[in-house]
């Protein structure tokens, strides 16, 4: 067992609790192992982390910047604060920004009841938004045989892009534009149905946390996402 001798265990604290981390573990992974719940949206177990949504921001003593737990490696002696009134306010604000930037009308959404944004809003106590709604009309692309992409509900988590690239190997999805003008695109911006790279595998639909990528023909609240995780981890294992 030659590897064991190089195996380094780090000790750190999260919210005052002493925890252990193995090498390469992120703060988020360690927190979850220890039943410390840090809210996440763009993170998807089995895909590479990108730190896109910033919901998992934590404070680390001695660092004046907030760090995303999903892409920050645990270090020896770190003192991490994952929950504080201030962090809670930031997280609520992120949810508000997401709810106001696109058009989320849960009452008429196919994913209502099975949506991570909707349940995060509830969990964090966002029962109304304090920012004005932007009401910007985005495109909905229904050109694919089986699926619909409704950009009015996209939260730009890039899970679709990552699963399509890292697992399916097609890299149909990508992102164009910057900041508030960012949009997910298929191929070079062609309609999804015309995509030459898409294999119709449906992985992107499975991992989309909201009602942006859905199967055709679903009525309000009918779109449930399969539990994709066991499959994903299995595929990951094979690839490595």
């Amino acid at each position: 067992m030659p590897e064991i001798s190089h195996y380094q265990v780090k000790t750190l604290t999260i919210d005052g609790k002493e925890v252990c981390a193995s090498e390469h573990q992120t703060i988020l992974e360690v927190a979850r192992e220890n039943n410390i719940d840090i809210p996440t949206l763009c993170y998807f177990n089995g895909l590479n982390g990108v730190g896109a949504c910033r919901l998992c921001l934590v404070e680390v003593k001695g660092n004046n910047k907030l760090l995303p737990a999903c892409v920050t490696q645990a270090q020896e002696g770190m003192e991490v604060t994952a929950h504080s009134p201030q962090l809670h306010e930031y997280r609520k604000l992120i949810i508000e920004l997401l709810l106001t930037e696109r058009s989320h009308v849960c009452a008429v959404c196919v994913s209502s009841g099975h949506c991570e944004l909707q349940s995060l809003a509830q969990k964090l106590g966002v029962n109304h938004v304090t920012l004005p709604y932007l009401h910007e009309q985005c495109k909905a692309d229904g050109s694919h045989r089986h699926f619909v992409a409704d950009h009015n509900r996209c939260v730009l988590c890039t899970r679709c892009m990552r699963v399509c690239d890292e697992i399916e190997g097609a890299h149909t999805w990508d992102i164009t534009g910057r900041g508030i003008r960012s949009r997910m695109i298929t191929d070079m911006g062609e309609p999804w149905g015309d995509s030459e790279t898409c294999t119709n595998c449906g992985k992107c639909v499975s991992v989309c946390p909201v009602g942006a990528l859905v199967e055709k023909g679903k009525a309000v609240a009918e779109m449930t996402k399969p539990n994709f995780l066991p499959y994903l981890i299995q595929m990951r294992g094979k690839g490595q």
Binding site: Q122, N127, H128, Y133, H135, V220, A221
Partner: protein, 177 residues
């Protein structure tokens, strides 16, 4: 003990929240002795009275009449409750905000009309350019999301308020249904 003076108001919503309120059914009798319904689409009062303890408001603010009403109701109500997603977020009525109002009216009253073409200008309140949730114009004391909020949830809100508490709904309600 004086009865709590309760009102309900129906603005730009589908009446689903009021239907949900009625779905409380026989439990309404349990609280009936503790309340007086002083104004509501469900009772025959024309004037919104002064000194209302609690007003449940269904619907978003979509036209000039809604705006006048909510200001007046706010001034006369101690605890103003935004009941349901239309009041809380704008919800379905606010979906027209993604378009220019003139286009929406044209679509409804010209493109798709077979008789009396053109939007009505007399005897109906004129639409505001944008539909907004209540709290964009007046202070709201309690938000009850849901489309519609369930009868159980509304009953819980009423019971808690009658017991002198502001209910915590975080585990009981979310946007949508």
């Amino acid at each position: 003990m004086d009865k709590a003076r309760i009102a309900t108001l129906w603005l730009d919503g589908c009446s689903g929240c009021h239907m949900s309120l009625l779905d409380i059914d026989e439990r309404l009798l349990d609280i009936a002795s503790a309340i007086e319904l002083v104004f509501s689409p469900l009772v025959d009062n024309k004037e919104f009275p002064e000194n209302v303890d609690l007003t449940l408001v269904e619907g978003a603010l979509a036209n000039e009449e809604d705006i006048e009403k909510i200001k007046m109701v706010r001034a006369r109500t101690k605890l103003l409750v935004a009941l349901g997603d239309c009041a809380v977020t704008g919800n379905v009525p606010a979906m027209r905000n993604n378009f220019v109002l003139a286009d929406v009216l044209h679509r409804g009253y010209v493109d798709n009309a077979t008789a009396n073409c053109g939007p009505p200008v007399h005897e109906v309140p004129q639409l505001e350019p944008k539909v907004i949730p209540l709290h964009e114009l007046v202070a709201v004391d309690l938000f009850v999301p849901g489309c519609p909020p369930s009868a159980d949830l509304i009953f819980f809100v009423l019971s808690e308020v009658l017991a002198g508490r502001i209910p915590d709904l975080s585990t009981r309600s979310h946007f949508g249904n």
